[in-house]
């Protein structure tokens, strides 16, 4: 509840700001929104259900690939691409969820890492479809494909913002819903949940599917944003960066991942313009942040506010 004024201010800035920004900044802002959505979807697993997934970029990537393959090889229409992207990503999480939902803790970390690596391997090796290492380029531009009357980065930004706001609202509703609370219960004490009568496996599975679905949404947007896909979309680095966004921002909150995603996208792009030693700086930043705010930046702010 305390988040409301903060969220409102940010939202107003997000809506009103871009027309006054240079196209490059609008682009960065778009990226932040896409990753923020992705990070929020991971947070459903990581922060709420307590399932640390290290293969989450997989769904993102698969959805992006679906859009890429359909739009380039098969020249499919806009809605076909979008719907298939989301559907395929969700379907994948449904299937993988069957495999991983009974595993917990580090083992969950590792089994999702493995499934992520397998997906990466697939994107790398299933050359006739994915183009292998070279990836697929030539995804049509959003405005052309969707038949939008406006073009350009600002228009794309607003489309992304719309998707983001809708998804974020859905997610916010989800985590405060009865179902959202069952996820927290599982995170806190699964045994107790079972003895209270929850089929925890089922709840984990459903949360995995939901997380996969929202990741797919962001993957679809990302595909249009970049105009190409490549295996690096689903590799371990992508997944672990995502993981960092969530933990840095504050797992178990929805604002946290947004902050984390924003901070990391911004930092990476800004520092690297000034120094080639940016990984060092970024790493130091992670360490310091975790040191000072082990619960994430957002929770740090919250505790401060609560105590004052």
């Amino acid at each position: 509840m305390k988040a409301v004024p903060f969220v409102a201010v940010i939202l107003v800035m997000l809506i009103a700001g871009p027309p006054f920004l240079a196209s490059y900044w609008v682009g960065l802002l778009t990226q932040m929104l896409i990753f923020a959505l992705l990070a929020m979807s991971l947070d459903v697993l990581l922060g709420y259900t307590g399932l640390p997934s290290l293969g989450h970029a997989g769904f993102f990537g698969v959805a992006a690939y679906a859009v890429a393959v359909l739009s380039t090889t098969y020249h499919a229409g806009f809605w076909t691409c979008v719907m298939s992207g989301i559907l395929i990503g969700t379907l994948l999480s449904t299937l993988l969820g069957l495999l991983v939902s009974h595993v917990r803790d580090v083992y969950f970390l590792m089994i999702t890492l493995a499934s992520g690596m397998v997906l990466w391997g697939l994107s790398y090796r299933w050359i006739p479809v994915t183009g292998g290492d070279n990836g697929i380029s030539g995804i049509p531009r959003l405005d052309a494909h969707a038949g939008l009357p406006f073009a350009g980065p600002v228009a794309f930004y607003y489309v992304t913002l719309l998707v983001f706001v809708v998804s974020a609202s859905l997610l916010a509703l989800l985590v405060s819903s009865p179902f959202g609370f069952t996820l927290r219960g599982i995170r806190e004490n699964e045994l107790r949940m079972k003895s209270l009568g929850f089929n925890t496996w089922l709840h984990c599975w459903v949360s995995y599917i939901i997380a996969g679905a929202f990741a797919s949404v962001s993957g679809v947007v990302w595909a249009y944003y970049n105009g190409f896909v490549s295996p690096t979309y689903l590799d371990l680095t992508a997944s672990s960066e995502l993981f960092l966004m969530v933990t840095l921002g504050g797992p178990g909150t929805l604002v946290g991942p947004v902050i984390g995603a924003g901070a990391i996208v911004l930092l990476k792009n800004v520092i690297s313009a000034y120094t080639q030693r940016w990984p060092l700086i970024l790493g130091t930043f992670y360490i310091i942040t975790m040191f000072g705010a082990p619960q994430g930046l957002w929770n740090l702010g919250r505790r401060r506010r609560a105590s004052s």
């Binding site: 083992y107 493995a114 690596m117 397998v118 933990t247 790493g283 360490i287």
Partner: protein
């Protein structure tokens, strides 16, 4: 037949190397519950330090000792100054080690550049053992032997001293461990340093064959994790069985169905976890 024997030996060598690398990881996880993403960095630092020292002194032994000691010191510092504060809080600890992985990786690039290199063979072991048609490098046999010795050492340490029990107590309940008189800081610092040292040692052992190169830290980390997970996090026996299983399956997999070589590594893990969610010898 020759082919099979060679592949079998290759598999065992991979297993030995994996065991050396994964041993430290499972040690640190088993007693501290830290998923140490920086483990690969320690491995990398070991190789780089050894490389530098060997280049200066021409002594493999000195290089190994320097690598092990220096990396242990780095590990100790990381634990004392950073991880200690978050004892028994796995997520912040893991994120910290991720940060360190990034820092070490870039620092290594800054100091040593990104050129690949290999460590020299010990002169004694440069040749190969040849029996009829089977040619097998002597050094690889040596690594297998070393891994066996290290495994034995760890086992003895764990089973026959109180260190193992104290370590586990520290993980189970650090507060009570402290109230029972265990110097938790000392114990966890020691273990983390030992895990780092083991990684460095593994790196040096693999050095003549795999060498050092930019990106090596994250290259081998998933492998080590797969081994540890198959065996069950924290179990020494698990690490041993896991590395042999992975070593053999991966080698034969690559040889027999090269198309699937991207999957031979992970498939066994997924199968094991699907059946037993805590690995072969792991406890929930």
């Amino acid at each position: 037949m020759i082919y099979i024997i060679t592949q079998f030996l290759n598999g065992l060598f991979s297993a030995a190397l994996l065991f050396l690398i994964a041993g430290g990881l499972t040690l640190v996880f088993g007693v501290m519950r830290i998923v140490n993403i920086a483990h690969g960095s320690f491995y990398m630092l070991g190789v780089y330090v050894a490389y530098t020292v060997i280049a200066r002194t021409d002594s493999l032994l000195l290089g190994t000792i320097a690598a092990v000691l220096l990396v242990a010191a780095v590990g100790l510092a990381v634990e004392r100054l950073f991880l200690r504060r978050f004892a028994s809080r796995p997520l912040p600890q893991m994120m910290m080690t991720m940060g360190f992985a990034l820092v070490f990786r870039d620092a290594a690039f800054m100091i040593w550049g990104g050129d690949p290199f290999t460590l020299p063979y010990p002169a004694l072991l440069a040749g190969s053992v040849e029996t009829r048609d089977i040619v097998f490098p002597a050094y690889r046999l040596f690594v297998m032997l070393v891994a066996a010795v290290v495994g034995l050492l760890l086992w003895v340490l764990n089973e026959h001293t109180l260190i193992g029990a104290k370590l586990r107590a520290t993980v189970d309940d650090p507060e009570m461990a402290a109230a029972t008189g265990i110097n938790v800081a000392l114990v966890s610092g020691g273990v983390f340093a030992a895990g780092a040292a083991l990684a460095a040692f593994g790196g040096v052992m693999g050095g003549p064959i795999l060498g050092g190169y930019a990106g090596m830290d994250l290259d081998l980390l998933p492998l080590a994790f797969v081994v540890v997970i198959i065996g069950g996090m924290g179990s020494l026996k698990g690490a041993l069985v896991g590395s042999i299983a992975v070593g053999l399956i991966d080698n034969f997999g690559k040889a027999l169905v090269p198309e699937l070589s991207y999957f031979t590594l992970f498939a066994p893990m997924v199968i094991v976890l699907a059946i037993k969610p805590t690995g072969l010898y792991g406890r929930g």
